[in-house]
Amino acid sequence: MTDTLFFYSFALLTLAGAVLTITRRSAVHSAIWLIVSLLGVAGLFLLQHAEFLFAVQIILYIGGIMVLFLFVIMLVNLDLAARQARFNKAWWLALACGAAVGAEILYFLHRGAGAFRLGATGAAPAAAGTGNVEQLADVLFSEYLVPFEVASILLLAAIVGSVIMAKKRV
């Protein structure tokens, strides 16, 4: 009962924030609404018992990426862009594609949960006394160690790349 209530409120937060993100004229307003949307997603993570990802979502997305966005909005002069048309010439095509997918979503909402055959829940219950972070670390640092290390190379390349891009003279 409380789960249901929380799910619908977080879902409302997520979807309303997303719609306002893509429709506001000012990029700063878009960024603020994106924060609301990301907060909703963080709440959904918490509902799914993914506590570590809840913390990562708040710290990294809302604390890191959104500050990056707001800094760039300050660096780049968006006043001129805010006075011009928000949507490009092919907006009706995008809206048609969105309406098609929206119709599919409405069909599934109409059919209800019986429309999904998600397979057996191979739920191996977690060993008693191990939290979400501990389980995650166990898998991340044993089975997925190589992808984890490769991700650090990706981040290094991204850091160097973005510094070079933003520098005046290389």
Partner: protein, 103 residues
């Protein structure tokens, strides 16, 4: 009135969020907002991954969500760096005014 929440609820929510993000990418002119829409799309993917991780009782989905977040961070950093370089050279942030390669 109150149905229990199943993974299907999360899948439908994630599909809706992905659709909104795609609409943003396809229809907006401002590149900053397009990058924000890409963040929305990646968040929809994460919701999906975590719903299945919960369904199967494994944390593998959460590990992949961490990788998705890593790629999202790299993408945002490089994309915003590109945007700054673009604004310095072309004085515009509107995607359809950058048409140097268009016939």
């Amino acid at each position: 009135m109150f149905h229990p929440i199943t993974p299907a609820h999360y899948l439908v929510l994630s599909a809706a969020l992905l659709t909104i993000g795609t609409l943003g990418v396809l229809s907006r002119r401002n590149i900053v907002v397009i990058l924000m829409s890409i963040e929305l799309i990646l968040n929809a993917v994460n919701i999906n991954l975590i719903a299945f991780s919960r369904l199967h009782g494994q944390v593998t989905g959460q590990v992949f969500a961490i990788f998705v977040i890593t790629v999202a961070v790299a993408e945002a950093a490089v994309g915003l760096g590109l945007l700054i370089a673009l604004f310095r050279n072309k004085e515009t942030v509107l995607a359809d005014e950058i048409d140097l390669l268009k016939w």
